[in-house]
């Protein structure tokens, strides 16, 4: 019995990180109706930022997270002005293709530079043991950081002028513009923020698991499931969605072979889309 609780708690810890990964995706979707298919590649970028920072300077991987955020934000701004800005408001297929192309470019360049071999960020924190089960320090730390960052994002979006501008543009771009909000700058900032969040989640994941240049795809797929569970375009919901996904994984694991988990996950994804086409916690968009 305690095994099931341990499994669920483990699921929640990892789920919080999935939630953070999905937050960037859902923010960009919510604000500008763009599904960012380069999301996975950006997550990988975050992983490599931490890897190289710890390798070269020997600092704690957790100090690499702010750097990951800055690199992500700048990368996001560049991507926005080079590619996304041209396709906003055009048919959705355009932005899918634009961001998918970007995904291929980033992965191609990264493969050329770093190959597809596995990398590992060595980090050890004391864990907490309950009975025979141990929750590793890195998982607990990652979950705490994920929740703190989600909280900061919430405060930013609700209590600062740029944050409010982002929400205004998300709910009605024309009305926002009439009220004097520079919408293009706001959109680029939102995109930068979304990409920065993806980078941070990549940075956190790198402290938990080994990764390769191609690891992003798995987290991108999970982000889609989380986004749908949490409500399309709802960053706060993404954290809940991530934790919900973690609980589902934790609950299912003791009773099914682990190789079946993805089938359950994506079954849930399809079922949710049928029952709640805008996601379970959707409320920001009409």
């Amino acid at each position: 019995m305690i095994g099931i609780f341990a499994s669920i708690l483990d699921g929640i810890l990892v789920g919080a990180v999935y939630g953070l990964a999905a937050m960037g995706l859902t923010l960009i979707w919510g604000v500008m109706n763009v599904i960012n298919l380069s999301h996975g590649a950006i997550i990988v970028l975050g992983m490599f930022v931490v890897y190289f920072l710890t390798e070269l300077t020997g600092i704690s991987p957790y100090l690499g997270i702010p750097t990951g955020m800055i690199v992500g934000f700048i990368a996001g701004l560049i991507i926005y002005w080079v590619s996304v800005n041209r396709v906003i408001g055009r048919p959705i297929l355009m932005s899918l293709l634009a961001t998918f192309a970007l995904n291929m470019i980033i992965i191609g360049l990264a493969t050329a530079a770093w190959t597809t071999s596995p990398y590992n960020v060595p980090v050890a924190l004391p864990g907490i043991s309950v009975g025979n089960y141990t929750f590793t320090g890195t998982h607990i730390m990652a979950a705490i950081i994920a929740v703190v960052i989600a909280g900061l994002l919430y405060l930013f979006l609700h209590f600062t002028r740029p944050g409010k501008a982002i929400r205004a543009v998300a709910s009605n771009r024309d009305a926002a513009e009439l009220n004097g909000i520079p919408t293009r700058q706001t959109l680029s900032m939102a995109f930068g923020l979304g990409v920065a969040l993806a980078c941070i989640s990549g940075a956190l994941i790198s402290t938990l698991f080994p990764f390769t240049v191609l690891s992003g795809e798995a987290y991108q797929l999970k982000s889609f499931v989380v986004t749908v569970l949490g409500g399309l375009g709802n960053p706060a919901g993404a954290l809940l969605g991530g934790i919900a996904l973690g609980i589902v994984e934790g609950l299912a694991t003791p009773f099914t072979p682990v190789s079946w988990i993805p089938i359950i996950e994506f079954g849930l994804f399809v079922a949710t889309l049928i029952a709640f086409p805008r996601g379970i916690f959707a409320f920001t968009r009409p």
Partner: protein, 398 residues
């Protein structure tokens, strides 16, 4: 103008002269996983090949009758992917005109490469392809140097029989052809030996989070864990088993712990054992090529790292091909294949003999394995041979 023309003519003649020189080389083609998840093990194998080539060429080449052929390699990076192996082996045969082939690393890739090599009737030395199924398809030109997958964990079961005959075993393994073949064969043996199978879980090759599986292992109350797959997943599994303090008394993982890089895990490596095709401590007396000690010394001098079994397998497999070509006194594939069928030779890698039964042609039937374990000795991690008794360098740490 005239001088330019003369220079061009000279260059053309020089180029034309190359093929005449190239006749005295034997071209061997293969792919190695220089990138991707098999890169660690495959690179060791590649180093084994390269050391052999340099040794042979330094001695004047392979002796065929009264001629000597220098060895030339043509190789590509298969990125640890089946599709690349399929494309590249076709290219090696049709465009690069490879006369003989070495296999890529790992059972899955060998199975793919073997389809191509058989189609074109090319001899391929299989190194690093332990799964037996590939050799039971009626192949004629495929020769296996490794002991088959079903025998990998026999040593671990033997140790458990001695130390804890009532052990509850958890089988946790990668879902690739090789690891599955090993686990399934071992599970049956374990049941016959009266062990309890407490848990059986397979995981995909790209798994990085073993947390859920480890919780299940703990819940199952298992004392021993047998399984793993290759380097990337196996080393991660060992690390996370240690991080989550799974109180297992015995852990044997395939492939990963054999790599010297496994020592980077530090405390997580202690006590972990690995079935091994070869260890530097073995004392085979070869009738062809260098002794294990000579090979180990040379390898260390060149690559600055202790050779694991993948490296020795690479060198050993290549030696067996060389032996057959020299015995045949010809580079004609039919004659060399006939010689390989007759092979009964001991190299630094151990004894080698191929099955000539048409149903399992090319299957290795003489080579044997050892079980090695990482132990802490005077504050240093060392890999010791603990099984079988006549080869052991240290006692079992249980």
């Amino acid at each position: 103008m005239k001088t330019t023309a003369a220079l061009l003519l000279g260059a053309a003649m020089a180029l034309a002269a190359v093929p005449a020189f190239a006749e005295d080389t034997i071209t061997i083609g293969f792919t190695a996983s220089q990138t991707g998840k098999l890169n660690n093990d495959s690179t060791s194998q590649l180093r084994g090949f390269e050391l052999w080539r340099d040794d042979v060429n330094a001695k004047g080449g392979i002796k065929v009758g009264d001629k000597s052929y220098k060895v030339k390699f043509v190789s590509y990076d298969d990125e640890s992917q089946n599709t690349r192996v399929q494309q590249l082996y076709t290219r090696l045969i049709t465009q690069d005109k490879a006369q003989f082939l070495f296999s890529p690393y790992s059972s899955g890739l060998v199975a793919t490469a073997a389809i191509i090599s058989e189609q074109y009737g090319k001899i391929m030395m299989s190194i690093g392809g332990a799964e037996e199924k590939t050799y039971k398809l009626g192949n004629k030109y495929l020769f296996q140097t490794y002991t088959g997958a079903s025998k990998y964990l026999a040593g671990a079961l033997d140790v458990l029989k001695k130390k804890n005959p009532k052990a509850k075993i958890a089988f946790v393994y990668e879902d690739d052809p090789f690891s599955k073949a090993v686990a399934q064969a071992t599970r049956e043996l374990a049941k016959q030996d009266g062990f309890t199978v407490a848990l059986e879980e397979s995981y995909s090759s790209s798994t990085t989070d073993f947390g859920p599986i480890i919780n299940k292992v703990i819940s199952s109350g298992a004392d021993a864990l047998l399984g793993g797959g290759h380097y990337a997943d196996g080393s991660t599994l060992a690390r996370q088993l240690h991080d989550q303090k799974a109180k297992l008394k015995w852990v044997t993982l395939l492939v990963a712990p054999d790599s010297p890089n496994f020592a980077k895990l530090g405390d997580a490596a202690v006590g972990v054992s690995v079935p091994s095709q070869w260890e530097p401590q073995v004392t085979y007396k070869p009738d062809f090529g260098p002794t294990p000690a000579e090979f180990t010394k040379e390898f260390k001098a060149k690559f600055n790292i202790e050779p694991g079994y993948h490296a020795a397998g690479g060198y050993g497999g290549a030696l067996i091909l060389q032996h057959a070509i020299e015995k045949a006194g010809s580079i004609d594939p039919q004659k060399v294949a006939a010689e390989l069928n007759k092979t009964d030779v001991t190299t630094l890698f151990g004894p080698c003999k191929f099955s000539t039964d048409p149903k399992s042609h090319g299957l290795q039937i003489a080579h044997t394995m050892v079980l090695a374990q990482w132990q802490m000795k005077d504050g240093k991690l060392v890999k010791e041979v603990i099984w079988p008794d006549n080869a052991k360098t240290s006692d079992i740490m249980y």
